[in-house]
Symmetry: C2
Subunit: 84 residues, 2 copies
């Protein structure tokens, strides 16, 4: 399972679109606060693998390319722990 | 923009996994309550177009195959309007 504190430290680049507290800055992006961690892991892995393609998915693919499985678990734990 | 009431009427098949109030029944699925409507539209359209593939995306692709753009807009409006 991921580490929330480590996830927070890794979340700077996410915040530009998903907000400092996991509330998206504009509604074309999803809120992440309080989302289920296993789902977030699956979504991030899908961007990384290319299972999600086209449009904004290409942006996400670039962002997650450098993330390890541990990074992804940590980020998921962090956002899951935020108040929706 | 979508119609919340119409979306609710179309949401029966969604509720089996995403919950009657948009809270996923198990955490491998995402919560939808309070999610941003434009994001939900984009996600549903991505399943429909095949831009999301593999794993659970194949299940979603089957579910959304019969949805019109209006259906998708209505469902997004419905879930966006639920309390997170």
């Amino acid at each position: 399972d991921g580490n929330r504190r480590a996830g927070q430290e890794k979340s700077d680049r996410c915040a530009a679109c998903h907000g400092a507290e996991g509330k998206a800055i504009i509604p074309i992006y999803p809120n992440l606060a309080g989302q289920n961690a296993p789902w977030l892991v699956q979504a991030l892995q899908a961007y990384k693998s290319g299972a999600r393609s086209g449009g904004q998915a290409e942006m996400m693919k670039a962002f997650v390319a450098g993330l390890s499985d541990e990074d992804i678990d940590d980020l998921a734990a962090y956002y899951a722990g935020l108040k929706p």
